[in-house]
């Protein structure tokens, strides 16, 4: 009937109850992720308050086009993940798999564009902390902006990599026919994680690129 053997734990009374538990667990985990980033956002708020000019200048030297393209890429990948869940839910595993492949490709594209940006910064010596030697923005505080930029995008990039690995694993399970209208919680949880990655970027984009 589409529910693989051994899906329900012995301690749960029903699959619905177990799904509810897993979903709640995932949301709690996402809450911890949000608070993980909250630390960096706090640092950002404090230093933007202390160094408004340096932040404006530093922001203007980021690659706005690349940032915007990346935003579109991530939003679209979020969309395809939502579609993948939709297709699994309506018993169309092949379409779901295609959507997941698209998502993973977009994740790779995101990382590629980010890598290009990082390379540019490296050549300009617009590096964080003590490595900062960017000639165009010599004012104090700019090093702090770049520290924050690298910490925030770096941690976010790490999450993209993790999300991508999770989605690859889920793609594999989808291809095995694990998910259907009867049971798709695994896919859904992976999707939630990916949406969170998107959610964080939605805030990083205006805060870093559009000051």
């Amino acid at each position: 009937m589409g529910i693989p053997e051994g899906i329900i734990g012995h301690h749960f009374s029903s699959l619905a109850r177990q799904n509810e538990a897993m979903r709640l667990g995932m949301w709690l985990f996402l809450a911890t992720e949000i608070l993980l980033f909250a630390g960096l956002f706090t640092g950002y708020a404090v230093y933007r308050f202390e160094f408004p000019l340096a932040f404006a200048d530093g922001s203007r030297h980021l690659n706005l086009a690349a940032g915007t393209v990346n935003t579109v890429v991530l939003i679209t990948s979020s969309f395809t993940v939502a579609l993948a869940i939709h297709f699994a839910r309506t018993d169309r595993p092949r379409a779901a798999a295609v959507c997941l492949v698209l998502t993973i490709l977009m994740a790779l594209a995101f990382l590629g564009i980010k890598a290009i940006e990082y390379t540019e910064h490296f050549h300009e010596r617009a590096l964080p902390g003590k490595f900062y030697a960017f000639k165009e923005v010599p004012i104090p505080g700019a090093a702090m902006f770049y520290s924050l930029y690298f910490l925030m995008t770096g941690l976010h990039g790490l999450h993209v990599v993790i999300g991508m690995s999770v989605l690859t694993w889920i793609l594999w399970r989808t291809l095995q026919g694990r998910y259907s209208s009867r049971y798709y919680t695994g896919l859904e949880l992976g999707g939630l994680y990916w949406h969170l990655v998107d959610l964080i970027w939605i805030f990083l984009y205006p805060l870093l690129y559009l000051i």
Binding site: G39, F51, G129
Partner: protein
């Protein structure tokens, strides 16, 4: 589903073996999904680290017998107090009650067969050990000398092994998060039929509130430690004053976790006391709702008060006042609990057993420790007391006086439940009085030292502080003896103790609904709950397994 030995026994019609008998190989423990076994693994781990931390403490106290250089050099002394703090907080206090006792009795109390995510539960224990091993590795390779608070810029410039300790604490944070996550989901989805929120045992309320803090606060510590690690290893971070960084920002982020973390240590302790007070006075809780909601209140308001650690740290006067008054409200919730515990005794049937001795200690230490906490939060008094031994004494009153007393109360209360054996009551009372006496002798002089003006983390101190320091060291020795006695008689009881009846205390807490020790799957049939916990209007002789 794995067909366990318990199942095969049940099929054969024999009484189900206890969880202790269901597999005796090492792998059956290391690869268990049973919340009770994970709890026992945690229990032995935290006790192990408690003694390690205790040895550090005694070495520190020994050095402080003399005002000048003595016994160890300054750097070793600094490493010792750092390790004492790190071990006691991250490896003992935070996991002690939730991960050991919570894991064991929470599913029993809510009539569940296991926690929601048994594998994650086991993972939490492994993460604990990974974190611990990294921390131990760092200790062996020179340790760190920053204090457990890791204040920057000292921690980003100290030549010692700070990075691995930070990493260890980061991983231990993960372990703590996973336990909290598991508990919240378990409470939401696995309660037995009839167990409404307003019938949940108070210990479960305490653990639920604790879990909220673990979920919301621990990640902030994680990112803070990560940023310091990046600053140390990578040379860039957010706290370097040479590049406009603000060391006070670190303190804000650190205490955003570490103040609520105090409640991670104390809320489960309060839950244990709520259970024990009812069980040993054989009385329903005086104010069930008040105790339950004040746990949630503490979890919530506990987040609004972190700035009272920064009154003299360069924080603004205005925000200091805001944090000061918000801190007063946390005190109220604790006061409500204390009054209700005392109220529970009214017209009860009090039996002065070993756990009850710890309850008395707990009440006294919590009231005194808590009131000095309120005094500290009055802002101006904190100026003189901040970073002196007064603070040291205050938080030891809360952490040792309240949390460790509750840990010991729970250990004695649930010992028959966990291992099906009884311990020597006489030795129990001897150790309890020794510990309560030793504790006072250790930390009351430290309050006075703080008043006198001795800053904390002092290797050498002006000579006029010596008398009080000697008194404190003498008390610590007594305290150490007390703990060793407990270790000995419990170890003996574990092996040679008399078999306990299923409910030796005649308690009507829900965890006693099943056998002691419980079978692997906890209940042959999931019970239906029809009443509040600790309803002593009727009597059933101890030893009868109630199926409610």
């Amino acid at each position: 589903m794995r067909l366990s030995e318990a199942d095969s026994h049940a099929l054969a019609g024999a009484p189900a073996p206890t969880y202790l008998e269901d597999g005796t190989t090492v792998m059956s423990w290391l690869n268990t999904r049973d919340h009770k076994r994970v709890a026992v693994l945690f229990l032995f781990s935290v006790i192990f680290f408690f003694f390690i931390g205790g040895v550090f403490a005694l070495l520190l106290r020994f050095k402080l017998l003399q005002p000048g250089p003595f016994f160890v050099d300054a750097i070793s002394y600094n490493r010792l107090f750092t390790l004492h703090g790190v071990v006691m907080i991250f490896l003992f206090l935070i996991p002690a009650i939730p991960s050991a006792f919570g894991n064991f009795v929470l599913p029993l109390m809510i009539g569940a067969r296991d926690v929601a995510f048994p594998r994650i539960n086991l993972l939490s224990w492994y993460l604990y050990w990974i974190g611990a091993v990294i921390a131990i590795w760092a200790m062996v390779h020179g340790g760190a000398d920053t204090g457990w608070t890791f204040y920057t810029p000292y921690s980003s410039t100290s030549p010692t092994q700070v990075a691995p300790i930070l990493l260890g604490a980061f991983i231990l944070g993960f372990s703590s998060i996973l336990t909290g996550l598991n508990f919240i989901v378990t409470v939401h989805t696995l309660r037995a039929p009839g167990l409404s929120w307003m019938r949940m045992p108070l210990f479960v309320w305490g653990l639920y509130a604790t879990s909220i803090i673990q979920i919301l606060a621990t990640p902030v510590l994680g990112i803070t430690l990560l940023v310091v690690t990046v600053e140390r290893i990578g040379g860039f971070g957010l706290f370097d004053p040479a590049r406009g960084g603000d060391p006070v920002l670190f303190q804000h982020m650190f205490w955003f976790y570490s103040h609520p973390a105090v409640y991670i240590m104390v809320l489960p302790a309060m839950g244990v006391i709520s259970e024990c007070v009812c069980a040993f006075s054989r009385k329903n809780p005086f104010g069930y709702r008040a105790i339950a909601f004040s746990s949630i209140g503490i979890a919530f308001v506990g987040f609004f008060t972190w700035g009272h650690h920064l009154f003299v740290a360069g924080q603004s006067t205005f925000i200091g006042g805001a944090f000061g008054i918000l801190s007063m409200f946390v005190g109220i919730f604790t006061a409500i609990k204390v009054f209700n515990w005392v109220g529970t005794l009214y017209r009860g049937a009090i039996s002065f057993k070993t756990p009850f001795a710890y309850i008395c200690g707990f009440l006294y230490f919590l009231v005194f420790g808590g009131m000095t906490g309120i005094a500290l939060a009055t802002t101006s008094l904190d100026i003189h007391w901040h970073d002196t031994y007064f603070i040291v004494a205050h938080f030891h009153f809360i952490m040792v006086g309240a949390s460790v007393m509750a840990f010991l109360a729970g250990l004695h209360y649930w010992f028959p439940k966990m291992f099906g054996r009884t311990y020597s009551e006489g030795w129990g009372l001897v150790a309890a009085s020794l510990i309560i006496l030793g504790f006072n002798a250790t930390f009351v002089p430290q309050f006075l030292l703080g008043n006198f003006g001795m800053p904390r983390r002092y290797y050498q101190y002006p000579e006029h502080f010596q008398a009080l320091n000697v008194a404190s060291t003498a008390g610590a020795t007594l305290l150490g003896f007390g703990f060793i006695i407990i270790l000995i008689y419990l170890a003996i009881a574990l092996r040679y103790g008399e078999r306990s009846v299923p409910n030796p205390w005649g308690s009507k807490g829900f965890e006693w609904m099943t056998a002691s020790p419980p079978p692997t799957h906890n209940f042959d049939e999931i019970p239906t709950i029809t009443q509040m916990p600790h309803d002593y209007r009727t009597h059933e002789p101890p030893g009868v397994i109630r199926v409610a």
